[in-house]
């Protein structure tokens, strides 16, 4: 039975399934790949129409000086070279990359594992599960733009709740030491509710009989979590890790809303610097060059995860 071009060995049909076959079996593989392509056709069309055009448009313009209003002027590699070498024109290029990296390293673990922890707590068939699920849902539905007012009040150095609890008087958002960690805290806060729902959905899809079988083998409590739950959550963890990192590298909204990159550029992420070049400095060409530099960084990070991360439940 020749099966060329199969992407993953795990997807070969088990030998048992090969015993009984429908009459159209000789078309089986042909039919399967045709169906496969058919199913992804909407996604491909969408990709070609909305995304590939955008990528090509942007790639071309990253080699130009462009402000969207007047025709672009071809400048070759100038934007890329200047971003890396011209400390006057782009004084915060490396700095903002560093801030973004710090952001990813601080925010990712919290935004992935804190929600998982909460979901595991909730997955104990406890009373009031619905109530807790609803409470955890509240931060998810509230638009971030409007929560800024609440955060400013809670983080106030003089009368804010946080300082009252801690007995301090820290300017959380206006002190270069604390501003970035504070924004991380707000972001993780916002991620708990949504992440918890995703984790819980994944947990609930694990068939109960898997645990029953495990229990017979003596796997309970921590052992059960480590040897049964976690492996089955791996695909979800892989998703959270990859898409989370993609989004996290681009982050700018919390800074845009709360600090504008201040104080002393301590919250000036690469995403915000790029956004400033689009919105404030009228430099679409340079912003696009930044976007493609970011693309390379994120692409490498993503491919590394695809290569080394166990993405399937085995």
């Amino acid at each position: 039975m020749a099966q060329p071009n199969l992407s993953a060995p795990a997807e070969r049909p088990s030998p048992g399934a090969a015993q009984v076959r429908p009459p159209w079996y000789k078309n089986h593989l042909w039919w399967e790949s045709a169906t496969g392509y058919l199913f992804i056709t909407p996604a491909i069309v969408y990709f070609l129409v909305f995304q590939l055009t955008g990528v090509l448009w942007g790639f071309y313009l990253s080699f130009t000086k462009y402000n969207l209003r007047t025709p672009p002027v071809w400048v070759g590699l100038t934007n890329y070279i200047e971003l890396f070498t011209d400390q006057v024109k782009y004084p915060t290029f490396y700095h903002s990359l560093w801030i973004s990296l710090k952001w990813v390293l601080m925010e990712r673990p919290g935004a992935i594992f804190l929600p998982l922890f909460v979901a595991l707590l909730l997955n104990h068939e406890i009373k009031g599960e619905g109530l807790f699920k609803t409470l955890f849902f509240i931060p998810v539905i509230t638009p971030g733009i409007a929560m800024a007012a609440a955060w400013k009040a809670i983080l106030d150095p003089e009368v804010g709740l946080l300082n009252m609890i801690l007995g301090t008087s820290i300017s959380w958002l206006k002190d270069a030491t604390y501003a970035l960690p504070t924004l991380v805290g707000m972001e993780v806060w916002g991620a708990i509710g949504g992440g918890m729902w995703i984790w819980l959905s994944a947990l609930k899809a694990i068939p109960g009989e898997v645990y029953e079988a495990g229990a017979i083998d003596g796997a309970t409590g921590w052992r059960s979590f480590w040897h049964i739950t976690l492996p089955l959550l791996r695909p979800t963890l892989f998703y959270m890790s990859v898409t989370g990192a993609i989004g996290s590298f681009q982050v700018f909204m919390p800074m845009y809303l709360m600090t504008g990159g201040e104080p002393k550029n301590s919250t000036l992420t690469f995403g915000l610097l790029l956004y400033n070049h689009v919105k404030r400095y009228d430099a679409m060409g340079a912003a696009l060059a930044m976007a493609f530099i970011l693309l390379v960084i994120v692409l490498v990070a993503t491919l590394l995860q695809f290569k080394f991360f166990p993405q399937k439940a085995d």
């Binding site: 055009t53 990528v55 707590l121 619905g130 849902f137 998810v140």
Partner: protein, 279 residues
């Protein structure tokens, strides 16, 4: 079983703690929406308390909100867009995801990785090309401009690909042997098995469409086509301090219905019926 009891107590304590942390800002918003504008600034605590230290509730913010908002029209637009997007994109995304997870065809993983690439380009620079495509398609300044570009989302395809990958294959193989087509397997075995995640993702999709004002503001001009979030954008971000109470009231009015609407959905996130079917 003292051990279990202690364990349960700890679990409850943890859940209560997390709930408290998560809802504190929202409680602040709700309580402050009942303050008079001046108390909002001069008495920065949680509760609306007058000069004599008595609790009160002022509805001035809500009255202002009702006067401001073209609730009916904007809500109708919002619901058309949000519901269409949610349902249609759930179908297209899960279908593609199922294909990527389960069907075998050439260059499958490569295609999937290529589809992921545009996600890595910040929206700040893809906004204009999207706008240009929308304009070329002739749907600029119509609700279609909000619907069509949202029919597929690669992030959701990714999520469901991972969910389908974590399902035991035995289930579908049985259906295949019975002669079911791939679509039938996807529809009656695959989808029901990931139902908790389907509900979650649809809820998030709906919320995304409900709350987004930025993209709609780029492709819409006529106020008749505005969504609620777009119509309220300036008020919600207002620096005009005379309106803070209105702003908080609008926020509550936008958020509370969602909690009520989605209350039933949280029940859907329970033990998937796959467990039942296997027994």
């Amino acid at each position: 079983m003292g051990n279990t009891r202690v364990q349960k107590a700890l679990i409850y304590a943890g859940l209560v703690l997390f709930s408290a942390i998560l809802i504190t800002p929202m409680i602040w918003v709700v309580l402050n929406s009942f303050k008079t504008p001046s108390d909002y600034f001069t008495k920065p605590g949680f509760f609306p308390i007058d000069d004599n230290g008595k609790l009160y509730f002022s509805f001035a913010g809500y009255q202002g909100a009702v006067a401001y908002v073209k609730f009916g029209l904007w809500m109708r637009n919002t619901l058309i867009v949000a519901i269409t997007n949610t349902v249609a994109s759930a179908f297209f995304n899960t279908l593609a995801a199922y294909s990527f997870a389960r069907l075998r065809f050439k260059h499958k993983d490569l295609i999937f990785k290529i589809l992921l690439v545009p996600m890595m380009i910040p929206g700040a620079v893809t906004l204009v090309p999207t706008f240009l495509v929308v304009k070329t398609m002739g749907i600029y300044d119509t609700l279609w401009a909000l619907i069509i570009p949202s029919l597929v989302w690669i992030g959701t395809i990714f999520l469901f690909r991972q969910q389908f990958l974590s399902l035991p294959k035995s289930l579908e193989e049985a259906a295949r042997i019975d002669g079911a087509s791939w679509f039938q397997v996807y529809w009656s075995v695959g989808l029901p098995a990931v139902r908790p995640m389907l509900v979650t993702s649809m809820v998030f999709g709906f919320l995304g469409a409900y709350n987004d004002f930025f993209y709609p503001s780029i492709v819409l001009v006529n106020p008749e086509n505005y969504t609620l979030a777009l119509g309220l954008a300036s008020l919600l971000k207002s620096q005009d301090t005379r309106n803070f109470h209105i702003r908080l009231a609008v926020l509550v009015m936008m958020s509370l219905p969602l909690i009520l609407v989605f209350l039933p959905f949280q029940k859907q996130i329970q033990k998937g019926f796959i467990a039942g079917e296997l027994k």
